[in-house]
């Protein structure tokens, strides 16, 4: 799918498949095209080129919308209605019978810790409570596929944990989940596969672990000495690509951490330094993300 905003190419021939029952992460920096992609998939805006389908239904059709639950980025519930009325409104818009909606509503609100405040107006809710309510609203139709656009952004720890636990539970029950986020830890903990989008292009799609391990040159050794050592000196040790000072420690990036550890041991003994701590670090998903998006920027 491709989407232009005037002259700006927001999403450029993005193409991918998400398997049934998969928890798929969609990562990218701000302005990368994540929300535009989700809006095309949820039928809120139309793609200028290309198309997509959900369970065989073309996106944007009533059938595709009927089987999807959506938590849009920065969405609000109706502040002048109670949480319960918001939930029942959504159920009616999805054509859910009232008795089924009531049963599901009670269960969802209890799970999200909102039931005791179900009759309060939404304008009295905290941000975390509103987001949990919006998630309940997306789930009241018992959708096959759930789209979540930055669902935990800016929330309190308790709400984040509740939402993550709920998503894991839903995925375990076979729901397909499409999650956009720029939180690497969240994607790493939750997702079966992630796609990384940058400047409207998908730069990688794979399992988080595979993406991490495929990031060559991003392995690192974290070391601290009992005396001051200049980063320029460490940068000259064979095998070191980059040096970063992190408080009283140094992180040395390398393609071959084993050889670097030997070189560091030799260096410290020949210069009369004692090593206080030494850790070999594998690349994080964040490292992979930065490497992939920077590579994309260089190509551009």
């Amino acid at each position: 799918m491709t989407k232009y905003y005037g002259e700006l190419l927001a999403v450029d021939h993005v193409s991918f498949t998400v398997g049934r029952g998969e928890l798929f992460g969609f990562l990218g920096p701000n302005g990368a095209g994540k929300t535009t992609t989700v809006r095309m998939l949820t039928g809120v805006i139309r793609a200028d080129e290309g198309s997509a389908s959900i369970s065989g239904h073309r996106v944007g059709t009533l059938k595709a919308k009927q089987i999807a639950g959506v938590v849009p980025e920065m969405a609000n519930a109706y502040a002048d209605l109670s949480a319960w009325d918001n939930l029942m409104l959504m159920a009616e818009l999805y054509g859910i019978p009232a008795s089924v909606a009531r049963e599901r509503g009670i269960s969802l609100m209890q799970e999200m810790g909102l039931y005791p405040r179900k009759d309060s107006l939404v304008k009295t809710y905290s941000r975390g409570m509103k987001q949990r309510l919006i998630l309940c609203m997306a789930l009241v139709s018992d959708p096959e596929v759930l789209f979540l656009d930055e669902p935990t952004s800016g929330l309190d720890v308790q709400s984040v944990r509740l939402i993550k636990d709920l998503l894991q539970g839903l995925n375990a029950k076979g729901k397909t989940i499409f999650l956009t986020t720029h939180d690497m830890d969240e994607a790493n903990q939750l997702c079966d596969r992630v796609a990384i989008i940058n400047k409207g292009n998908i730069v990688a799609i794979d399992a988080p672990e595979k993406l991490r391990m495929a990031t060559s040159g991003m392995h690192s050794v974290e070391i601290s000495f009992d005396n001051v050592v200049s980063p320029e000196v460490l940068a000259n040790i064979p095998g070191v690509n980059t040096v970063k000072k992190l408080g009283d420690k140094y992180r040395l990036y390398t393609a071959n951490p084993g050889e670097l550890v030997v070189s560091l041991a030799n260096y410290s003994s020949s210069h009369g330094l004692n090593v206080i701590s030494l850790n070999i670090l594998v690349p994080s998903l964040e490292d992979a993300f930065v490497a992939l998006t920077e590579k994309e920027a260089e190509h551009a």
Partner: protein, 251 residues
């Protein structure tokens, strides 16, 4: 799903949207001010101190009340929802944009009819009589739907500021009131004034109201009803076609 069943289902969802609008927007300040208080005070300012009969005043007051109330909610719901960040959630539900627009029109229609009934009751209390109440009721319903549809035309420009939409609406609504036979009967207007009056849908409702209450109008009632129907169809088609284009640009 066969098309008639689909239409019925979307109609039901339009009613759900209308009910939501009624619960949320009826008590909003701009709706009460522009929809109820403003036309009453405007009418009073033009009639107090003039020697006018109740039979003359009630059709004009009714036309103006119906016009202002039925166009008070439908223009502001979409920009309000976009501003409050509830529109994207609504658009991702299994409803068509047409369904959303019809829901907003129905909420405005109900408001227009409800407040007009109060005016009609006031007229009856003051001693006016309505000849052909059935035709008159059809005219009220048709005009309320026509004006509510016009309201959604005002909100086509993709601005998310309700105040901007109200300003656009005011630019159209005020001149319309003065050219539609509310204060001066069409017969007393010069030829050019009558020509201008014919482009206002309010003219035709006011004419039916004068026929029903004063016993004489400017045009045959059938013509008034047919023209109101044509205006309604025009506003509906324009609103649905153009909101289809502009609504996604609001989010």
């Amino acid at each position: 799903m066969p098309e008639p069943a689909l239409v019925r289902e979307q109609m039901r969802r339009s009613l759900v949207i209308a009910r939501k609008d009624i619960r949320i927007y009826y008590s909003k300040g701009p709706v009460i001010i522009f929809g109820v208080l403003f036309p009453v005070f405007l009418f009073l300012s033009f009639t107090i101190g003039r020697d006018l009969s109740v039979d003359f005043m009630i059709p004009g007051l009714l036309g103006m009340i119906l016009f202002f109330t039925a166009t008070s909610i439908s223009p502001i719901v979409v920009p309000w929802e976009a501003q409050a960040r509830t529109l994207e959630r609504l658009m991702s539900c299994p409803v068509r944009i047409k369904t959303i627009i019809v829901g907003d029109i129905l909420a405005s229609f109900a408001f227009g009819v409800g407040i007009s009934l109060v005016t009609i009751m006031l007229g009856l209390f003051l001693g006016v009589t309505i000849s052909s109440p059935f035709i008159f009721a059809i005219a009220v319903i048709l005009a309320a739907f026509c004006f509510a549809s016009l309201g959604t035309v005002f909100s086509i420009p993709p601005t998310n500021l309700p105040a901007t939409v109200n300003m656009i609406a005011a630019v159209v609504k005020f001149p319309v009131v003065f050219i539609s036979g509310v204060f001066i009967p069409l017969d007393q207007l010069p030829a050019w004034g009558q020509a201008v009056a014919y482009i206002s849908p309010l003219t035709y409702f006011t004419d039916i109201a004068r026929t029903s209450i004063q016993g004489q109008g400017h045009l045959p009632v059938v013509v008034d009803l047919l023209v109101l129907l044509a205006f309604t169809a025009l506003f509906l088609v324009v609103a649905m076609k153009l909101h289809q284009r502009t609504m996604p640009r609001r989010i």
